[in-house]
Symmetry: C2
Amino acid sequence: MQSVRTLASRTHRAYQAFLKQGSTKLKNGMLFGLAEALAEHKPVLLSENRKDLDQGTRDGLSKALLDRLALSDKTIDGMAKACADIASLPDPVGRITEMVVRPQGFRVGRMRVPIGVIGIIYEARPNVTVEAAALCIKSGNGAILRGGSGAHRSNMALVRLIQDVLKGCGTDENLISAIESTDRSAVDELVVQEGLVHLIIPRGGEGLIRSVVEKSRIPVLKHYKGVCHVYVHEQADLDMAENITVNAKVQRPAVCNAAETLLVDEAVATLFLPRIVLKLQSLGVEIRGCERTRAIFPDNVKPAAEDDWTAEYLDLILAVRVVNGVGEAIDHINRYGSNHTEAVVTADIRVAEQFVREVDSSSVMVNASTRLADGGVYGLGAEIGISTDRLHARGPMGLEELTSYKWVLLGDGHIRE
Amino acid sequence: MQSVRTLASRTHRAYQAFLKQGSTKLKNGMLFGLAEALAEHKPVLLSENRKDLDQGTRDGLSKALLDRLALSDKTIDGMAKACADIASLPDPVGRITEMVVRPQGFRVGRMRVPIGVIGIIYEARPNVTVEAAALCIKSGNGAILRGGSGAHRSNMALVRLIQDVLKGCGTDENLISAIESTDRSAVDELVVQEGLVHLIIPRGGEGLIRSVVEKSRIPVLKHYKGVCHVYVHEQADLDMAENITVNAKVQRPAVCNAAETLLVDEAVATLFLPRIVLKLQSLGVEIRGCERTRAIFPDNVKPAAEDDWTAEYLDLILAVRVVNGVGEAIDHINRYGSNHTEAVVTADIRVAEQFVREVDSSSVMVNASTRLADGGVYGLGAEIGISTDRLHARGPMGLEELTSYKWVLLGDGHIRE
């Protein structure tokens, strides 16, 4: 088996060659080719996936994990569609923004360019293999993929398919490569290949991500967790507040943009809490309330401990706190939150403005559900992950976030006076 | 003396308060106030600077270093003008770019926000203290400044002035703070304050920067060195090529965007090299040439060693190499360069396009001098440094590069279907 360093050198060399060769036409051709190849090679993909599933069953994986791992005719069609969708997005590379004429008479602007080689570390779902590869191809980047060991055979079959398509287009297939070793030490080796690898995107549990950040000498874009809040202001339309809260908590509780804490203004607590708590409980949600919440519901609501304010339940559990106005709500969010996504429900424009300005999160929603924090919903077309960091990219990351820029100056003999 | 951690907590708290308080009007008022205060307090600034200069003389600093350290009426006026100039620049914070209406009917866009607390580590020049503080104030960031020990008294006097202005405006003066210890270990402590400090910008020699990068657990934006190239294509206007080469090498050789290597197409080598070499030699430039260059000048040109291709001379020395066309020039630059700034001189638009596309540097010039790579020249107004990294900011960094963004979604009860 080749070392991670050798793999990284090869991918880096393929990336440099692709810089010269990777026209929009070629890249889109590859993506449509990949969509076709996926449809054509379903039997081998399903049979490799079957082996992963059998192994997972023997290893006693939970039903939820097996579900995430499973491929089907339909999920493979979904991957093929994602490739075609990414092909149809505008090419971010080569775009020059705001080229201005300076007083001296030359023009200067910024041209979008690929970032380089991106290491992507992820867990169960094999569809990430295809989507990450497709996004990197379209944005002109090389990629080194490292999927979860439970999906190893499925991922390797997908990478072989991708590399065959690259080769068929006359491109060095190492542009998209995968780490074959399922050993944890291979990840440790990947994150120190500075100079060959330019960005690391880890996706998965907090433990995985913390370990990557701890060891990486390469910039990492990531989010640890999503402790998202819905804040119901006293001027909220309470029907709207109920709809948004239910959607944010219940529609898909296991994802990072689902709400974990509800903050309610004291002025509407006795009006709003009875209806929302009963509604959520009827939908199977367990409520953990602050003392003021429990003063209204002494029996049906468990007490929230300090830990509940920072908990990412990813489950049908909601922490509820009564607050005194928008200032206290913002302070709670900035103290306990994870800088992911927060929503305010209010009819008062000044409260909305203050919430947007002062909440320090990657997405801030006014009168909308936290579940809308998503690259597709925002119009990015497809996302490679979500960042709660402050540099480069924040929130959902799409094609443009997979590019950097360089300054281009067009002169006619201009010199520095 | 307070610990770096205490200092960082105080600056972080001041930054968070400034998020709520820092209107454009207040920020501009501070900057104009600082300009006035600088003009008013020249005597104390000059006398503190005198002590640094005396100490430097006793320590045997070079004349060049003492020159960089020295304040004068004129340099203080320059700092005051920089503050007023930064006040007159548009406020980057709060600007929302491309707010689009999505098919579901809500609007979504990105709002520029401050990055947070920025640690700035720099060497001799005290004017960096004022310019860095002014740029951070205008962009809403907190700053922790750590200047060179040789300028310690000057820097402390400037920081006291800045803090007095902040206090006078009713703002927590810890927004702009300075590390008082001149001990190297204080820098090591600064770069591990993740959570309190969000970005490190080191400016200075390669040794300082490498040591910061090695130890930092916080993102660092930097450039190690500037090994800038001028490439003269066979279709170049040779008068223009001479002008640009002379300007790039001679106008200010000690700065990072001065040229260090000249690449000349073989087809024009016998025509161009005699004139440019004699011209540069008449201006005191030492030429170190490849074998083909020395075949034309066997006597007056020293041989270039492998090390010369990666050397940042910062002096009147130029490495010269004859190449076979644009492909070889690009390969040389991407192999030996420092990703800073490169120029091509050509009349062939396809060569210019190829050079712009394939050269992997933060600034690429067509028919213009490398010396034009500068925030002021590009229209950024003022720059806090230059980045040759790939993430977040590349090339000169101005106010906008000192901001991040968050997604803002304005709905009317919108939920995820």
